[in-house]
């Protein structure tokens, strides 16, 4: 790993200033970035830690919206969402292992937008916004393909807002080695309709399965999706599963999520 300067700001303002440098990058829990730097796939000149920024680590719910600070760890979301949004709490509590959950942050996960990460599915199905130092980005506009988001260079995720659904569930079919999602489906039933978001499957990263959303809007039961089919085209194929296998799993996991939604 190449050396760099570590900056530990205590406010968002200080962090944004430190990030203005072209060579600077945010450091959340480092659970993705540190391994990437070890492989020299990233070599920032300055890392700006989000973990000590005051007011960026909390989780709270009010008026049907759950807000997590951009530096809230997965462990903090697991605890903080347990009463208000249990499906999100369960998702957070199943990311990696306890030590990873004590460091990894929601902001880091969403900024990274790994095609097999869990939070992207939760945010896209919940609806809501990514709040940055500059603006609020709607969940539907935020994800722009594998490892790509609407964030600008140096833009900092300060908070993430989820619209709490009437009922929801996340089903993750784990890739047996990494335990990331081979396919993960988050189903959320809102007063205005159903949203279904799929992670792990597509070469374009997380996506909404609109056909299932329509069918589930009319009849919220696992049977409603059993007649649908997902095209294998554009699905990820690797040694863990073919595109056809993943396409099949999307349907199966959606059905399971609907059956388990509460």
């Amino acid at each position: 790993m190449y050396d760099f300067e570590l900056v530990k700001p205590s406010s968002v303002d200080e962090a944004v200033k430190a990030l203005a440098d072209e060579d600077a990058q945010a450091l959340g829990g480092g659970q993705t970035l540190i391994p990437t730097m070890k492989q020299r796939l990233a070599s920032p000149g300055r890392l700006v830690s989000t973990l000590g920024i005051s007011g960026m680590d909390g989780v709270s719910a009010e008026g049907g919206v759950l807000t997590a600070g951009g530096a809230a760890t997965h462990g903090a979301v697991e605890k903080g969402a347990a009463g208000s949004y249990p499906a999100l709490a369960a998702l957070a509590g199943n990311i990696g292992d306890p030590a990873v959950r004590n460091r990894g942050t929601i902001g880091g996960s969403l900024a990274n937008n790994d095609p097999a990460a869990c939070y992207p599915a939760a945010l896209l199905a919940s609806g809501g916004t990514v709040v940055t130092d500059k603006r609020e980005i709607d969940a539907d506009d935020y994800f722009q393909g594998m490892f790509t988001t609407a964030l600008d260079e140096g833009e900092l995720i300060t908070a993430v807002k989820f619209t709490i659904p009437e009922a929801a569930n996340y089903q993750k079919f784990e890739q047996p080695a990494s335990r990331f999602a081979l396919v993960g489906v988050f189903v959320a039933r809102h007063a205005g309709g159903v949203r279904v978001a799929v992670t792990g499957a597509s070469e374009d990263g997380v996506f909404r399965w609109t056909e299932a959303e329509e069918a589930l809007g009319k009849d919220f039961s696992a049977a409603a999706v059993s007649g649908l089919s997902v095209p294998a085209e554009g699905m990820i194929g690797d040694l863990h599963g073919t595109p056809e296998y993943r396409a099949h799993l999307v349907k199966v996991m959606t059905g399971r999520a609907v059956a388990a939604a509460s």
Binding site: L6, L47, S49, L51, G96, D97, P98, A99, V100
Partner: protein, 161 residues
């Protein structure tokens, strides 16, 4: 190189660290606390688990400077004051929870973190909690047994040694 300090196993200790110096490396190479092991260096194996401000972290995936001023506990801080083995360590010995011992520091630190939050975990909870701690030798059963025993529970029902 900048100097950083932190409280390790109750004592304030300092040493030199670059930005990129990992906590595991700092503990082992600067402070000579080689009980913390590095098995993979890729966040997978958990041999490097230590506690920072009371929570378990993988010290190979955290920079030393991030722990500046923090309270760190390593395996060297787990024995009783008189040097005898702590309840968890003794249970690992009694139940053959180790063979080569390479994973053991991380296993003990994870076990201690689990029992702090959940003093009487079920077998399933123990197995789930150890997801990020890999052992090449034991096949895990005796590790689970040791943690059950350390929490004062009956170990009779767990698969044979």
């Amino acid at each position: 190189m900048p100097k950083i300090s932190m409280k390790v196993n109750g004592k304030t200790m300092s040493g030199e660290a670059e930005g990129r110096t990992l906590l595991a490396q700092f503990l082992r190479e600067e402070l000579d606390l080689t009980g913390t092991h590095i098995g993979c260096d890729t966040s997978q194996c958990g041999a490097c688990v230590v506690h920072v401000d009371g929570v378990a972290v993988k010290s190979c995936t955290m920079f030393a400077a991030e722990a500046e001023g923090a309270e760190v506990t390593t395996i060297e801080g787990m024995a009783n004051e008189d040097g005898s083995l702590s309840v968890i360590q003794q249970a690992f010995q009694d139940h053959h929870g180790l063979q080569c011992g390479f994973c053991t520091p991380g296993m003990v630190m994870s076990a201690a973190a689990l029992l702090k939050d959940n003093p009487k975990p079920s077998e399933a909870e123990i197995r789930d909690y150890l997801e990020g701690n890999l052992c090449r030798c034991t096949g895990y059963h005796n590790i689970v047994k040791a943690i059950m025993a350390a929490s004062g529970q009956d170990v009779g029902a767990i698969a044979a040694e």
